[in-house]
Subunit: 396 residues, 2 copies
């Protein structure tokens, strides 16, 4: 597999993108479009938040269309908590862009990110669609990745090329999000394209699998957005068909894109100074392992200790114990970057100096072994810093 | 009911207390004892954390004794994550104090709070027990309340006197905790005494009820300590018996003590600048209401907005939606101090200025109505400030 951290959604054949400022934000790109030249098989995974945003409701319906032509994304306004008017506004945008692309509104997916509870300025969007369509080009993948950002501090693109027995296929992805959720001015969005030829039901299955192993394994602040969406378009321009025979290799590529983008989101987590991988091992079920890893990754006390460079095994023990999983604390082992720090439930003989040195690093791995089974799970997170508080106290 | 915010566990008749520095902390009181002159009926409610501390394991057993004579508490060391040695140390302390009080070790309850994962300096404790017993006096309730503190910034005492048909009874309580959990240097502990005469099984039932409605309704940072304990001793010195007839009035008094102490803990939450009450109303079940209230009270994004004085209804909507309770977002109403801010899922017509003024206050009530049933629940919490991060980044 060839990997590229400087290519994105227009790297696969048959995709064009465009981006511009339509006036939702005072400055900077805020409206973006990605188009599949041939109508594409599409799949999507959306937020589980009950108060999901209007564009999520619309895209959940449209993604079930036989084919999808394009995805229209705006930043600066989430079109969430906007009631029926919000849904009508999203539908209006879909109609307006569909008319210009000569397709049905149901062939358009919509995503929005930005402030919640404020009506979408749909006229600003509609007024810019002619120019947006004129700008469509395979060269504009990077502008797309820029236009969807909010509190993010860097663009998030990744692409790969996979050699299958029946030919080469490409997958490209772009994401935004400076945390699992920042419902005021942000959200996690990811858009993936591929020139593989693939049945949409099969695509949906592969996307769910990849999302569960990647985007669903990150947490910045344990909050869940009203707008989170991951969408994929498979245009088929490579003419290489994905089937059960070459599925594994294609999925490897898709997993790579999703994992790289998911990790970029955590590294760009609001106020993050450290990237932390938390693995729970030796559990009876994967669900138990997941609960333990998340309990540690979401604990404010563990996260502030990570920020402060404090090798606070006591807090990790506390977070493991409160996860809601029964286990024998006398069998609990905890490793920090492979240094055994807690053995059989109590501090190991390892020197404090050596343990402390792990916490001065930028990337930290916490491994928890409860030694009662074979299942494991990993969650990626970041620390909790003064800057997280700074970023989130302002009303905008 | 007469209420006193300057009286504590020695206000009920028949109780004595003592406190001193035994050398676990460099300075300040760190060892305390409360004694019931007549052996008391006892009850306790303890942490659900799987990695519970040695004194919790011991007290969970001893609280089932027919009678309890005293509670011995140390601060500065939690005796948690200390394995079998930790349990033996707690049992040793119980034996040493029981010998001096001429009772069985099973008539002693033990509680510890402080650093996790470090062996208990039991010799320091044992070496101070003679002096501690000599100091026992009804005048030393306040010293007891001081000796159990760690990161707390003030002492937490409350007492009341209740007139029942068959006589007067007194209840006194003391608590510590600067958050639901600070496993490194803190924990939530509460000790309650009463001179009422009451069967221990009945006492246990009343305590569970009171704790569920008070201490279990507070959250500072969503973490659950390895050491949390609430214990009550009923000595019977008033000779007034509690039965099903006067139960309600006694429970009212117990609830008052528990609620006042619980609110003091939140107000003294690590870095707290605001006291916030979150109520979910109109839910189908109490469990649904509890999930919604907790989801809002624990959301880092809601808590930072509260700190910043930002009336961010979008974040509250997000936190309600992620609670795991199904409801119709078009029926969601949200009030900030009785100002209807979100009506039927969208921003109400109320002026931003008026809504903002609520968030400048020190006490804020958030009321969420999902209008789909009759059940409700309240959770008390505080904001998330820079100081919370400051307090929790240091290794001690």
């Amino acid at each position: 597999m060839k990997k590229f951290n400087d290519k994105g959604i227009t790297y696969p054949k048959g995709f064009k993108a465009a981006a511009l400022n339509c006036g939702i934000k005072d400055a900077g790109l805020d409206l973006a479009l990605v188009l599949s030249e041939s109508p594409a098989a599409a799949a999507g995974v959306f937020t589980k938040n009950v108060c999901c945003a209007a564009p999520v409701i619309l895209s959940k319906n449209h993604v079930n269309s036989e084919k999808v032509k394009a995805i229209l994304v705006n930043s600066g306004n989430a079109n969430a908590a906007t009631g029926k008017q919000g849904y009508n506004d999203a539908a209006y945008c879909a109609e307006e862009i569909a008319f210009r692309l000569k397709c049905e509104p149901t062939e358009i997916l919509i995503a929005s990110t930005g402030i919640i509870g404020v009506p979408l300025p749909k006229e600003k969007i509609a007024g810019s669609l002619d120019k947006l369509v004129d700008n469509l080009s395979p060269e504009n993948g990077e502008s797309f990745s820029e236009a969807i950002l909010t509190t993010d501090t860097f663009k998030k693109e990744f692409a790969c090329e996979i050699q299958l027995e029946n030919g080469k296929v490409r997958i490209g992805g772009v994401a935004k999000g400076s945390g699992m959720i920042m419902p005021d001015l942000a959200t996690m969005l990811a858009f993936i394209t591929t020139d593989a030829k693939i049945d949409r039901h099969f695509l949906c299955e592969l996307l769910r699998d990849a999302v569960n192993k990647t985007f669903n394994r990150i947490t910045v602040d344990s909050d869940t957005s009203t707008n989170d969406s991951v969408m994929i378009l498979a245009g088929g321009a490579s003419s290489v068909e994905i089937n059960s025979g070459n599925k594994k290799r294609f999925l490897d590529g898709l997993l790579t894109i999703c994992e790289e983008l998911a990790k970029m989101i955590v590294k760009d987590g609001e106020g993050a100074t450290k990237f932390v991988s938390v693995t729970a091992q030796g559990c009876q079920t994967e669900s138990d392992a997941d609960k333990i890893a998340r309990s540690v990754a979401n604990s404010p006390l563990v996260k502030t200790a990570l920020y402060g460079g404090d090798p606070n095994w006591g807090r990790v023990i506390m977070a493991v114990g409160k996860a809601g999983v029964l286990f024998d604390q006398d069998k609990l082992d905890i490793y920090f970057n492979d240094i055994l720090t807690v053995k059989s439930g109590v501090k190991s003989g390892e020197s404090l100096e050596k343990i402390k040195s792990v916490f001065e690093q930028k990337e930290i791995e916490i491994k928890i072994c409860i030694n009662s089974g074979e299942a494991n799970a990993t969650v990626w997170t970041c620390d909790l810093s003064h800057k997280y508080v700074d970023i989130n106290i302002d009303y905008n």
